[in-house]
Structures are given as structure tokens and as C-alpha cells.
């Protein structure tokens, strides 16, 4: 088991598989060397690393949006009228 992914899963409440599916594990591992827990969570949840959003993907894959079950604004086209529907529950 990858120690960074394991720690990230424990801190974020998202599974290793969910974290890997963001495609950001390698980038975040490199950034987060020596980071605090709060910094690692902020990076995964909001895509912000020490006041900067390093890539578009970091923003789009922010776990805060996934926890709520919506896409980060400006990143996805769920379709005309999709906003009418009862929100899906995604929290575990």
C-alpha cells in the first residue's frame, strides 16, 4: 500500500480508489512532502496548495464538490435541466 495514498484516504474519507481516479496522486505526493494534515486535506478538497491552484484538474477534482455530489462550477456539463432533479446523496 502506498503510504501517501493511505494517509490521504484516512484524512479525506475518500477511498484509495477514489483518490487514484482523480489522476492527481503523483502530483500531490510531490507537493505534499512534509505538509501538515490540514494542508493535505485542503489540497485534496479544494485543489489549493499554499494559496495557489496548481492545475485545472486540481480544481475540477476537488473532493469538497464530490462530497456534495456536484461538479466544480465551470468543469462539467450535466445537461439541460439537470438542476431540476432531486440531488443525489453521495456522502458515505
Amino acid at each position: 500500500m502506498d503510504a501517501f495514498v493511505e494517509l490521504s484516504a484516512e484524512l479525506t474519507g475518500f477511498s484509495a480508489e477514489e483518490l487514484r481516479s482523480t489522476g492527481l496522486v503523483e502530483q500531490y505526493r510531490a507537493l505534499a512532502d512534509g505538509a501538515s494534515e490540514a494542508e493535505i486535506i485542503e489540497l485534496w478538497y479544494t485543489g489549493v496548495w499554499r494559496g495557489v491552484i496548481p492545475t485545472e484538474r486540481a480544481y475540477a477534482e476537488g473532493l469538497a464538490w464530490k462530497a456534495v455530489g456536484v461538479a466544480a462550477p465551470g468543469t462539467s456539463a450535466p445537461g439541460f435541466g439537470s438542476w431540476e432533479r432531486r440531488p443525489r446523496r453521495s456522502a458515505r
Binding site: 485542503e42 478538497y45 464538490w65 456534495v68 439537470s82 456522502a91
Partner: protein
């Protein structure tokens, strides 16, 4: 006829189109640069997703952040100097003004218009078809007069789950004797067309980032109108007009401008162009700046005065159950009943927008929620659940309050100069007691709505927040809406107004100043549609005069 249009934003693009379609040779001089291709990418990587952040800025033609703010309050209303103007970043909400909004002077608050709702009504229809508005005429008719048989070019957009959740509780209830009704808001973004209308661009697919940028072009921007310009319309970007010249009869003869290439410096070359007619369409503050720089159109001493905005009160809370925020356009419905009525003599009226994007505007969600929960020690599954629970129920009421015309609120020329050596605009702006009373009244209505909804109120205004103030002992705060107007006010007499009902400067037979700057009142509606209606009316007037 050779027309020079100054500004390629909302009003300028519309005027240029009508003139070009009717045989004018039109030169459009735009101070800003061409839009950048990477606006969506810049939006995604911006830490704070404020309205102007995705767009190209130049040193030579700075946007609203170069305005010198002399207080006592801040206008807090950004504008963008780029081809397409602030209409590139706008929210795309297009309610009409109400008939009584044109008679605010009769209420003893601000000024009357020299034209009525009925005079402007045909131009509203023309603007709605030119822009492409999605709305239902029967629904709009419940709060504003829409002619029988009229159809908007597109059917109303679907409401959000939040809209229905609120409507199911408040519709038919009363506050202060006013019956509540959640009403669909006309939208300048593509829905399902009625027979005979062909939308320009994609169907809105719910990117939920309309302000500042719609990734698929479902929202109207002036670039759409520009693509329909005839070949007789020429656009020159990076050309900042700095002076108009008039002959001894008051006719404008020549327009001076400074042309720059480099985004980062004030290096420029100087040019002049002659014109038969000149249309200033550069934004309320920029139009006033140009008239003041040129020493023109000001026999009434009203140029730059009567500056108005819409102070916005935000209130935010949690619905009793998840409603799925951050989906769809920013606001799809509102509560219209407080826009009018006898209270309007005593305090400013207001329009309540139901905000679909959680506490994004009011509190920086979901980043702020995450930070708060992490600081409280939450980790792992507990954190994930807490974020879902907190954010999934969020909603905001966005309440636009009228600010009446007051000649003391004004644009002047600052001693400071911009990179081109031109004096920067300076703004003196104060919220009136009337507006403050309206903000406070709207807060009380919001409190009642939250009670009805069983919503948990998280609204908090703190002394170290921006634009905080206290009124009658209650803490309040306002936000800016980006709706500046009044600075070349329209009236029925050259003694006390700058332009006539055609937006023609009283002092200059071939000079027009168009845009929200002409509006004697802003009412409680987002003003772009009214600006567009006025622009089309002026363009038709110019065409008929040329014949």
C-alpha cells in the same frame, strides 16, 4: 453617414449592428484588447473566482480597479474594458423594469424618466429577441405588463430543485400584507426555442459558472451581436478614446484616440478620426470621464452626477433538507412583490433573487466550510459527511436594493493619471438613508422567509467585513452588483439633464451617450436589458434621422 461608436460592449455592439444594417459606415473604437482564449482555464485556476479574473487586462486600458474611490462608501461595482465589455462577464439575468420605476421622481425619490414603460415596451421586445431571452410571458405578466400574444424567443428555463423547494413553502403566504410568489427570472441563456427562433450557440447544459464565463457559449455576450455585424462595421480594439472635439455650433467633428499594442505598458500612438455622428458607449463611468475630459455636454452641470448602483444584501442559510446547490444558472427565480408598492415612498424597494450557488458569493463555499470543519478537528469520513451535510443544503438570497439618483454621487476626474497619461475617474458615492432603509427592510423580509422555510440562518455581518455598516443599530453589509448608471442622465430639459429621451446630448446635435449612464433610475432590475432596449431605440432614431 460615418458613425464612430466608442466602446464595443453591450450597448455599442447593438447600436453598431443596427447602424451597419442600415447603410452607415461604422467605426467601433474599443479601449480594451481582444478577449483571451484561455478565460475558462484562468477561471478554474483562480483562487478567488471574481467576475473579472478570467479576462485579459491591459496596462493602457485598465478596468474598474483604476477608479479612484473617495468614499464615503464604495460603489463596489466592477466593469471590464475588453472587447465585449462587462457584458462578457455578466450574469445574464434580464428582468424588465416596472412602469413605476420610470416615475421615481413622482415618489419624491430620485428622478422621472422622459419616457414611460409603454414608450420603451416595443424596444424591450426587440432587445429580448436580439439577445435571445428565455422566459414565459404569462408568468412575467404577473408582475410586469407584457402585451397579449407576445412570446419570448425561448421558453422559460427549468427551475432548480431549490426554487421548487422554496416555492412549495412560500407561494401564497404573506409578509407585511404582500402575497409571496416565486417567479421565473428571464434569462439571456439558451433554452428551448419557440417556433421561428434559432438560438445562437449551445443549449445551456448547466456548467454553473455563468458569471464570469460560460464554457459553452450558452449565455449571450456582445460578441454574438458582433458576429452579426454587416461588413460596413469596422472594429478597432486597443484604441482608447481620450478627447472629442466640437465646432462653434456644438457639432462633434473629431475623435482623438490612443492606440497601443503592448498589454503591459502605456506605449501608444496618437490618432484622430472624423465623424458625422458619435455614440459614446463606453460604460457609465467611462462615458462621464470622456465628456469631462472633453469639456462637453455639461451645460446642465449633470455630467458624472447621479451615479447609482444596486447595493445588494446577501442572506444565507441551510434548508432543512439537501437541495443540491451549485447546479444550473446562478439564479432562476425571484420574489418580485417588494419591487413596488406604497412603501416605496418611505424606503427603497428591492428584488429578491433566489441564489442557486450555495454560499459561494456570500461566504466562499465550499472552501470556507472545509477549512472550518478541518480546523474543528474533523478528519476522514466524518469530514466528508460534514462537508456534504453543510454544503448540500446551502442557499443564498441575493437582494438588489434601489439607490435613487442623487447629484452628490458623482464621477469626477482624479489628479492621478493612467498609463496613457489620461486622468483616472474618481468616484464619490454614499448610500442614502432611503437605500439603507431598504436594505434593512429587506433583511427583515429575509428573516421572515427563513422562518417560513425552517431554514437555519447563517447570515453574519461583522465590523471588519468590507462594506459593513450599522443602521438603526442593526449590523448590515452590502455587496456590489456591477450595475452603475445615471452619469449622463436622461431628462426632459437641457437645464437639468445631459441627454434627451433619444440619448442625444442636449448640447451637441450629433453626439449620443448610451448605456446605463442615461438611466434616471435603476429600479430593482438588473439593468442590461433596459440598456439594450434603450440602445436599440436610439439606433432606430439615428436611422430614421438619416433618411
Amino acid at each position: 453617414m460615418r458613425a464612430v461608436v466608442v466602446g464595443a460592449g453591450f450597448a455599442g455592439s447593438l447600436v453598431a449592428k443596427v447602424l451597419g444594417d442600415n447603410g452607415f459606415r461604422v467605426l467601433v473604437l474599443e479601449a480594451g484588447a481582444e478577449p483571451n482564449e484561455d478565460a475558462v482555464s484562468r477561471y478554474r485556476t483562480a483562487l478567488v473566482k471574481s467576475p473579472l479574473v478570467p479576462f485579459r487586462r491591459t496596462a493602457a486600458a485598465p478596468s474598474s480597479d483604476y477608479v479612484v474611490d473617495t468614499g464615503p462608501h464604495s460603489l463596489a461595482s466592477p466593469y471590464l474594458r475588453m472587447n465585449g465589455g462587462t457584458g462578457t462577464a455578466w450574469t445574464g439575468i434580464t428582468p424588465r423594469m416596472r412602469p413605476d420605476d420610470f416615475r421615481t421622481g413622482d415618489l419624491g425619490r430620485g428622478r422621472n424618466w422622459p419616457l414611460s414603460y409603454d414608450d420603451l415596451e416595443p424596444s424591450y421586445r426587440a432587445a429580448e429577441w436580439e439577445i435571445g431571452i428565455a422566459a414565459d410571458a404569462d408568468e412575467q405578466r404577473r408582475h410586469v405588463p407584457i402585451p397579449e400574444g407576445y412570446r419570448y424567443p425561448m421558453h422559460a428555463l427549468p427551475r432548480t430543485f431549490l426554487d421548487d423547494a422554496i416555492a412549495s413553502v412560500v407561494d401564497g403566504q404573506r409578509i407585511d400584507g404582500r402575497e409571496l410568489l416565486v417567479v421565473g427570472t428571464p434569462q439571456a441563456r439558451n433554452g428551448v426555442p419557440v417556433d421561428g427562433y434559432h438560438p445562437d450557440g449551445q443549449l445551456c447544459a448547466g456548467f454553473a459558472s455563468c458569471v464570469p464565463v460560460c464554457p459553452e457559449g450558452a449565455k449571450y455576450t456582445p460578441h454574438r451581436t458582433q458576429r452579426r455585424w454587416s461588413s460596413t462595421v469596422e472594429l478597432r480594439t486597443r484604441c482608447a478614446v481620450n478627447r472629442l472635439h466640437a465646432d462653434e455650433f456644438g457639432r462633434i467633428t473629431k475623435v482623438d484616440y490612443q492606440r497601443y499594442e503592448d498589454d503591459t505598458s502605456g506605449r501608444h500612438t496618437r490618432h484622430s478620426v472624423e465623424a458625422d455622428v458619435v455614440v459614446l458607449a463606453a460604460h457609465a463611468i467611462e462615458n462621464a470621464k470622456l465628456l469631462l475630459l472633453s469639456g462637453l455636454a455639461n451645460s446642465s452641470d449633470q455630467v458624472g452626477r447621479n451615479l447609482m448602483g444596486h447595493p445588494v444584501l446577501l442572506t444565507w442559510g441551510l434548508m432543512p433538507h439537501p437541495i443540491g446547490p451549485f447546479r444550473g444558472p446562478g439564479s432562476t427565480t425571484g420574489i418580485e412583490t417588494f419591487r413596488s408598492g406604497p412603501e416605496r415612498r418611505e424606503r427603497a424597494p428591492f428584488r429578491i433573487e433566489i441564489g442557486n450557488w450555495g454560499w459561494g458569493w456570500s461566504a466562499g463555499s465550499p472552501g470556507s466550510d472545509t477549512a472550518e470543519l478541518v480546523a474543528a478537528g474533523l478528519r476522514g469520513t466524518a469530514l466528508r459527511q460534514a462537508v456534504a451535510e453543510r454544503v448540500g443544503r446551502q442557499f443564498t438570497l441575493q437582494i438588489e436594493v434601489e439607490q435613487e439618483a442623487d447629484p452628490a454621487n458623482r464621477v469626477t476626474l482624479a489628479a492621478e493619471r493612467d498609463a496613457l497619461g489620461t486622468p483616472r475617474p474618481s468616484v464619490h458615492y454614499a448610500l442614502s438613508e432611503y437605500a439603507k432603509d431598504g436594505l434593512l427592510a429587506s433583511k427583515r423580509v429575509s428573516d421572515r422567509l427563513f422562518e417560513m422555510l425552517g431554514a437555519e440562518d447563517h447570515t453574519a455581518y461583522k465590523p471588519d467585513d468590507g462594506h459593513y455598516f450599522e443602521h438603526n443599530g442593526e449590523p448590515l453589509r452590502y455587496w456590489g452588483a456591477g450595475h452603475s448608471g445615471g452619469t449622463h442622465v436622461m431628462g426632459s430639459s437641457p437645464r437639468d439633464s445631459v441627454v434627451d429621451q433619444w440619448q442625444r446630448c442636449w448640447d451637441h446635435p450629433n453626439l449620443y451617450a448610451v448605456g446605463c449612464g442615461s438611466m434616471p433610475s435603476l429600479g430593482t432590475s438588473n439593468p442590461s436589458l433596459t440598456m439594450a432596449a434603450l440602445a436599440l431605440r436610439t439606433a432606430d432614431h439615428l436611422v430614421s434621422r438619416a433618411r
